[in-house]
């Protein structure tokens, strides 16, 4: 290899970390409000993140409509006491406006069978390519292939971030506000589009003092062909599941059917309840669902195929950085949007997979962009005067260099605690305590190894590993403090819901993890 590429330092009003839909909306909104904006993504804006690889439903309901009342009522009911009407209302109303804006920008929505424009579905690759174009138009400076490693702090305020490009160039962006939109954490399960979603932003935020919430609602897996990665659960609404001998399996939702039966042998699905119109809708509307099956020579509407559950963590789960109604975190100068933020107020105790999460990405992105640019405007004179030397690192150990083998074995250790259905689809006190104790040891061993390592090439993977370790510990530490079953937090030892009203848990800390009851 050639010499290390040279590093660079940039200054901006607002720095956005992560360029999926939430980060893109954030950056566009902040720039349109007059802020200078840098957006850094660990991949490439346009193909990075869970949305770019997939299609996503989005909630589009008109203010005052019956559909809006229905959707809000249904979300409240499904949220099992933890979703709030006011948050859902603000979210769907914001998205309703922004989906129209997206059409003005050039997204060609289809018309339904009655000839009306239908805005309830976004094709990921197309949507993200359009948002990339809008980012350029808005004057946002894009740093592709530039993972962030840590936030910069000054007097307890977040004033930028540092990272390393994939080519190895160290970068620093000094800013008056930072928005974390790095997505959730799916622990490299290879569920479609989630490989880069390793909780990096959650770790950076927690190091800066931010709290997280909803982390216990994380028993979230997607159904996929056993050998493939596409975890679009939509088609299984029309599926019949069966075992090796062809016996039909049912009882509970589709995830419960698969989870309950996988320990006893292969589980098969066939999409035999889809009418010809639905089949055509799936083929024409969701080509990426059928792509792997087509390539495997499987006609899923007529042939059964073996399925498995792939862990989706906090991507389709609930938890993330706790935010207020402006998407501000509890760390001054730090905001969060999209799957990096907790979605507890909009989805409650259940998965926001598909529609709610993509709607939240738009709404929270807009709110974070507006609030961060306003915050930057208020703090500008002081912020600009701040010399770089004053900025201390959020955590001086955080850059973490480590050799590849140590990362591989640490990641395997994390996955063996977080993927097994008997540990994470359902849980009990014994499995949680066992996982927590092993993860705590793994964390300490990792910190020790990091401190004594001199290698620099793998600091990117080392940082991802640390973020996954931290996320796994937050998941189980929160799960331990909720002795009940609610939504996608399923406790074998407490099968029922606690009597109302449900408690909200927040969690903070990296070295020492603390769970507290919140409002």
């Amino acid at each position: 290899m050639t010499a290390e590429p040279e590093g660079f330092v940039l200054t901006a009003d607002v720095l956005v970390l992560g360029g999926g839909p939430a980060g893109a909306w954030t950056a566009i909104m902040a720039a349109e409000r007059g802020a200078s904006v840098v957006l850094a993504d660990k991949g490439r804006v346009g193909t990075s993140g869970a949305t770019a690889a997939a299609n996503t439903a989005v909630i589009d309901v008109a203010p005052g409509s019956v559909a809006r009342r229905h959707v809000i009522g249904r979300r409240l009911e499904r949220g099992l006491g933890l979703a709030q009407a006011e948050w859902i209302e603000r979210m769907v109303d914001e998205a309703h406006t922004r989906l129209r804006q997206l059409a003005e920008w050039g997204y060609a929505f289809a018309r339904n069978d009655r000839g009306e424009i239908y805005r309830g579905s976004l094709r990921g690759p197309d949507y993200m390519q359009l948002l990339r174009r809008r980012l350029h138009k808005a004057g946002v400076r894009l740093l592709d292939h530039s993972p962030a490693f840590k936030l910069l702090l000054s007097d307890g305020e977040v004033v930028g971030a540092e990272g390393l490009t994939r080519a190895g160039a160290p970068w620093t962006v000094q800013s008056d506000a930072v928005v974390v939109a790095t997505g959730g954490c799916a622990f490299m399960s290879k569920a479609l589009g989630t490989y880069g979603l390793t909780g990096d932003g959650l770790l950076m935020a927690a190091e800066a003092g931010a709290r997280l919430s909803g982390m216990e609602f994380s028993g979230q897996y997607g159904i996929s062909h056993v050998d493939a990665t596409v975890t679009k659960n939509l088609i299984y609404d029309w599926a019949t599941f069966s075992d090796e001998r062809g016996r039909v399996l049912d009882g509970g939702d589709v995830f419960e059917i698969v989870a309950r039966n996988l320990p006893f042998g292969p589980v098969y699905a066939i999409i035999d309840k889809a009418s010809p119109a639905i089949e055509e809708g799936l083929r024409q509307g969701q080509p990426n669902i059928l792509l792997p099956l087509d390539r495997l020579g499987i006609d899923p509407f007529r042939q059964r195929f073996p399925v498995t559950l792939r862990y989706e963590g906090t991507v389709r789960g609930v938890g993330g950085i706790a935010v207020d109604r402006n998407c501000a975190t509890s760390a001054p100068g730090l905001f969060a949007a999209g799957d990096a933020a907790s979605r507890e107020f909009v989805v409650g105790a259940v998965s926001g997979g598909g529609g709610p999460n993509s709607t939240w990405a738009i709404a929270s992105g807009v709110w974070a962009g507006e609030a961060a640019s306003d915050y930057a405007a208020r703090n500008r004179p002081r912020g600009r005067a701040r010399p770089a030397a004053l900025a201390e690192r959020a955590n001086s150990q955080a850059s973490g260099n480590l050799n590849a083998d140590a990362c591989v074995s640490a990641i395997e250790a994390i996955q063996s605690e977080i993927f097994p259905l008997e540990r994470n689809f359902t849980r009990d006190e014994m499995t949680i305590r066992g996982s927590l104790s092993r993860l705590d040891s793994a964390w300490r061993a990792f910190e020790t190894a990091k401190a004594s390592s001199q290698e620099s090439k793998n600091s990117h993977r080392a940082r991802e590993t640390a973020a996954m370790l931290a996320s796994a510990r937050w998941i189980y530490a929160s799960a331990l403090q909720r002795p009940e079953t609610r939504g996608i937090h399923r406790r074998r030892d407490y099968p029922g819901c606690e009597s109302a009203p449900p408690r909200r848990l927040q969690i903070r800390g990296v070295e020492r993890v603390v769970v507290e009851q919140a409002q």
Binding site: G43, R44, T47, S48, G49, A52, A53, N55, A57, V58, I59, A67, H70, V71, R78, Y107, A108, F109, A110, R111, N112, Y118, G120, S121, R123, P125, D126, Q129, D144, H145, K190, L192, G193, Y195, G196, H225, A228, T229, L234, D237, A277, I278, E280, G281, L282, Q284, G285, Q286, P287, N288, L291, P292, L293, D294, R295, L296, G354, G355, P356, T359
Partner: protein
């Protein structure tokens, strides 16, 4: 996982190196990009989608290597098939107006009403 970068078809534009969200390829000046870190491939098909020369093939298999033969892939019409299914014009997004997802259930999972 990514299985094929066709040396016959590749125009050495490095679009796949840039499009890959997970840094799987390495660019080689004046040469066809190399698949350098296949273990990091998440089988998202996006490099294939962004290849203007239909030179790439992503196998649907997540872990196992699929032995592919370029002539067979061409005969089966698989090179560039994802982009054609979406209706893209080259590497420019297009075709969303033919999206039939409105026939599928509501975003919250309930059956479409009316």
């Amino acid at each position: 996982m990514i299985e094929l970068v066709s040396t016959d078809r590749c125009i050495k534009c490095d679009a796949c190196v840039d499009a890959c969200p997970d840094n799987v390829f390495d660019s080689v000046p004046g040469e066809v990009p190399v698949i350098a870190r296949i273990e990091d491939c998440q089988t998202c098909f996006l490099c294939e989608l962004y290849c203007p020369a239909d030179a790439l093939y992503v196998s649907p298999l997540k872990e196992e290597r699929e032995r592919v033969d370029e002539a067979t892939l061409i005969a089966r019409g698989l090179l560039g098939s994802y982009r054609r299914a979406l209706g893209w014009r080259g590497i420019k997004a297009a075709g969303t107006e033919r999206d039939l997802s409105h026939r599928l259930p509501e975003p919250d999972g309930t059956p479409r009403e009316k």
